[in-house]
């Protein structure tokens, strides 16, 4: 039994070699030696390996499929559920402590009569944020990711039936505090909000391009502290614009309330 481990040639070429020119050199992939490529003729190979002539060849199959296509499909289902009940979903992503929960609470108090909000809280383990939100009378479903660094679409799918979707207009999903992983996982929401904050520094868009590239709107929270932290708004904004030239960048403060009306106005116009 001859098993040719790997071919760098196309099927057609290979077949012509197997059937035709037995002395032509070909390449094999040698498992023992990692990526080493050996070139020798099929005749040599068969001489070495006796007379049995079962040849396994490698075939390259084009796939071109998004790695997270399964997640993307569930996200699409979620989107349909939300669209079906006319709910606008927002995926709130930020570092730990940037002010996601604060921003959600401040947004809630500024929504006009008749525009209701509910929340999905993604958290590594605790339910502290969910309790804060429930205490304000906001419907909330807690998802503990149990150490997982991001929410995914199936977690949202499980949470949706537990929310009063018929009674609300806006769903805020507080993702796990993390500037890397959540950006890869679509949830089915309509808008990605990235909440930066001045204590994190103005270089974040340069260091976490994946996250800022995913943003539909960027809020810069804790702007009351911008002088304390020497936060350079122009520099920060230039980083975001390299990736997303047209994304709105809105400085806010959940402490003083600055910028929040502007954010809520933008949200109501763009939902």
């Amino acid at each position: 039994m001859v098993t040719i481990e790997h071919y760098n040639v196309s099927d057609a070429q290979l077949l012509s070699r197997v059937i035709g020119d037995i002395d032509a050199p070909y390449q094999t992939f040698d498992r023992q030696h990692g990526l080493g490529i050996h070139t020798r003729s099929l005749a040599d190979y068969w001489n070495l390996s006796g007379n049995e002539r079962t040849v396994s060849i490698m075939k390259k199959v084009d796939v071109i499929q998004a790695i997270l296509s399964d997640n993307n499909a569930v996200a699409e289902e979620n989107r349909k559920v939300l669209d079906g009940v006319g709910v606008f979903g927002i995926n709130v992503m930020a570092s730990p402590g940037a002010g996601k929960t604060s921003m959600i609470l401040e947004t809630f108090t500024r929504l006009p009569e008749g525009t209701k909000l509910c929340v999905v809280e993604g958290d590594l383990a605790s339910s502290l944020d969910a309790e804060l939100i429930a205490n304000k009378g906001i419907p909330v479903v807690q998802i503990n990711t149990g150490g997982g660094c991001h929410l995914d679409a199936s977690m949202i799918r499980n949470a949706l039936p537990r929310l009063p979707l018929d009674e609300i207009q806006i769903l805020m999903v507080e993702n796990v505090g993390n500037l890397v992983c959540p950006a890869n996982f679509l949830l089915g929401t309509h808008l990605n909000v990235v909440v930066a904050s001045t204590p994190e520094g103005h270089d974040k868009p340069f260091k976490y391009p994946g996250m800022f590239n995913a943003a539909d709107v960027v809020l810069i929270n804790k702007f009351d502290l911008s002088e304390v932290f020497d936060f350079d708004l122009e520099y920060f904004s230039s980083g975001v614009r390299m990736l997303k030239p047209d994304v709105p960048i809105i400085p806010i403060s959940c402490r003083t309330g600055a910028g929040l009306d502007e954010w809520v106005e933008w949200l109501l116009e763009n939902r």
Binding site: M58, D62, S69
Partner: protein, 116 residues
């Protein structure tokens, strides 16, 4: 950490495309701006693929660069994270970054029986 979920998906996509054939290699195209740690994926892969058609397969990562184009002087270059603070040619901050977010399984090498 998300490399775990990503590796599970890689195996699922590859096994789906293999249609019952044994997989010898999986070729991934990963943009430099989509944060994936190769070693970490390979580590999870070796464990998660054990009982599947992809057991023992080799992962190949094709890193796709991002490119920066200066809106001021037209300078073009390929970049890796972190993003450059300004155009290396003229120091303008009006750079536009494109590409580098790719994130898919490109192809797989499967065993195909011929001859006898």
């Amino acid at each position: 950490m998300h490399e775990l979920a990503i590796t599970e998906s890689v195996i699922k996509v590859a096994v789906g495309a293999a249609a019952g054939r044994r997989i010898h290699a999986i070729h991934l195209a990963i943009g430099v701006l989509s944060s994936i740690v190769d070693d970490s994926v390979q580590f999870y892969f070796d464990i998660l693929s054990r009982d599947s058609l992809a057991a023992g397969a080799t992962l190949h990562f094709r890193r796709i660069p991002a490119s920066a184009q200066c809106q001021t002087c037209g300078h073009q270059c390929s970049i890796e994270p972190p993003l450059p603070p300004a155009c290396p040619a003229c120091a303008s901050v009006a750079l536009r970054i494109s590409g580098g977010m790719e994130f898919h399984v490109e192809s797989i090498d499967v065993e195909d029986d011929v001859g006898s």
